[in-house]
Amino acid sequence: MSAYNRVYVLPAARTDIKGLGDPGVRKAVVSALVEIERNLEFGPLLEARGSTGDLRGCRKVYVDKPTDQKPRFRVVYWCAPSERRPRQARILAVGARAELGAYQLAADRYNADRLAQGLLPVEDLDDRSLGVEPE
C-alpha cells in the first residue's frame, strides 16, 4: 500500500466503473489505475478539440481485459495540482472508446473538479499556466 494516495476517483467516475458490466473489464480498469498510480504520466496528454472540449491538462489510457482486439474502453484523468508538479491523478471518467462519451463526461467534470481543488477553469489558463507547454 502506498504511503499516501496518488489516485483519487471522482464519485461520478466510480459510477462509470461500476456501470461496466463485465467484471474482467472492471479488474482491467483497476489495473490501469494501478499503472497510473505507479506513473502519473502513464497516459498521453489531451488537447483542446471541438469534438471533445477543452481537455488540456488531461490524460487518457485505453484499457480492456486481454483480447485480440484493441482496448475498448477509455480512462480520462488529470494530474493535480498541475502537470508541472503532479502529485495525484484524479480519475474523471471511464467510458467506451468507440464513442466520445468519456471525453464529453470528462469535459463536464474537469472544470468542476478544478474549481473544487481551488484552481481556475481550464478555459481561463494558457498552456504555460497549465504546465502543458512543450519545452
Binding site: P23, V30, P66
Partner: protein
C-alpha cells in the same frame, strides 16, 4: 189562554227576533297596498275566528307558510287579489289587524326561495368540513388569508364555499412539505467524497494487493494502449 206560541199580529212568534244575525261574514274590503304588502281586512272564517299563524323565525318556516298560506284566504276574490299582487310584487305579506298571518309568493320566488334554502342547507352541511380543512391548512403553514381566499369562491351570483379548491391547496402544500422533507433528508446525507484506489477496489470486490502484485510482475489481467 194559549201562552205559547205567542204570536204577533202578523202571525210571527213574538219571542224570537224577526231576523236572526248570521255568522260575522264581513264584506271583503279592498286590499290596502303598502310596500308590497297586501292587507286583507276580512280574514275571518265562517265560524268568526281568525286563523292563527305561528310566527316565522327562519326561512324554513317562511317556506312552510308560503306553501300553506293559501288556506287563509277563504274567498276566491281574496285569493285572486292576493295572487295577482304576489305575481306583481313577487312576495306579499298577508296581515290582519297589523298581525302577519301569512305570506304569498309567486312561483318564481318560491323556486328561488327553495333554491336558496337548498344552498343554505348545503352550506350548513359543509361548514364543519370547511372548519376542519381550514385548521389543516393552518397546521400545514398556509397563510390564513390565502386559505380563506381559496375557500370562498366569488361567483357572479355571490360568494360560495369551495371545499374542493381549499382541499387542492392543502394537497399541494402537503406535497411541497413532502418534497421539502425529502430535500432535507438528501441534505443530511453525507456528500460523496473522492474515493481512493483502495476504496474503489473494495467496492468492486477486488483484491488490490493481488492486482498491484500482478502489475508489478508485468502479468496484469489487462491490456493498455496509450495512443
Amino acid at each position: 189562554m194559549a201562552l205559547w206560541p205567542f204570536r204577533r199580529p202578523s202571525g210571527a212568534p213574538a219571542c224570537f227576533p224577526t231576523t236572526r244575525p248570521g255568522p260575522a261574514l264581513g264584506k271583503i274590503s279592498a286590499p290596502h297596498r303598502h310596500h308590497g304588502t297586501v292587507v286583507l281586512d276580512n280574514m275571518l272564517t265562517n265560524t268568526g275566528k281568525a286563523r292563527i299563524v305561528k310566527p316565522m323565525t327562519n326561512l324554513a318556516q317562511l317556506l312552510s307558510t308560503v306553501q300553506s298560506s293559501e288556506f287563509a284566504l277563504d274567498s276566491s276574490k281574496l285569493r285572486g287579489t292576493a295572487t295577482k299582487r304576489a305575481d306583481t310584487e313577487g312576495l306579499v305579506k298577508i296581515a290582519k289587524y297589523n298581525r302577519t298571518v301569512g305570506y304569498l309568493a309567486s312561483p318564481a320566488v318560491v323556486e328561488e326561495l327553495v333554491g336558496a334554502a337548498d344552498e343554505l342547507a348545503q352550506t350548513r352541511r359543509e361548514l364543519p368540513l370547511a372548519g376542519t380543512l381550514l385548521s389543516t391548512a393552518l397546521r400545514l403553514g398556509i397563510d390564513p388569508e390565502t386559505a380563506v381566499q381559496a375557500l370562498v369562491a366569488n361567483r357572479e351570483d355571490g360568494a360560495h364555499i369551495d371545499l374542493a379548491n381549499l382541499a387542492s391547496l392543502i394537497e399541494t402544500a402537503a406535497d411541497n412539505l413532502d418534497a421539502a422533507a425529502v430535500a432535507r433528508q438528501r441534505l443530511q446525507m453525507p456528500a460523496d467524497q473522492d474515493l481512493t484506489l483502495e476504496e474503489v477496489a473494495s467496492e468492486l470486490g477486488l483484491d488490490l494487493a493481488e492486482i498491484r502484485a500482478n502489475v508489478n510482475a508485468g502479468s496484469a489481467a489487462a491490456q493498455y494502449a496509450t495512443s
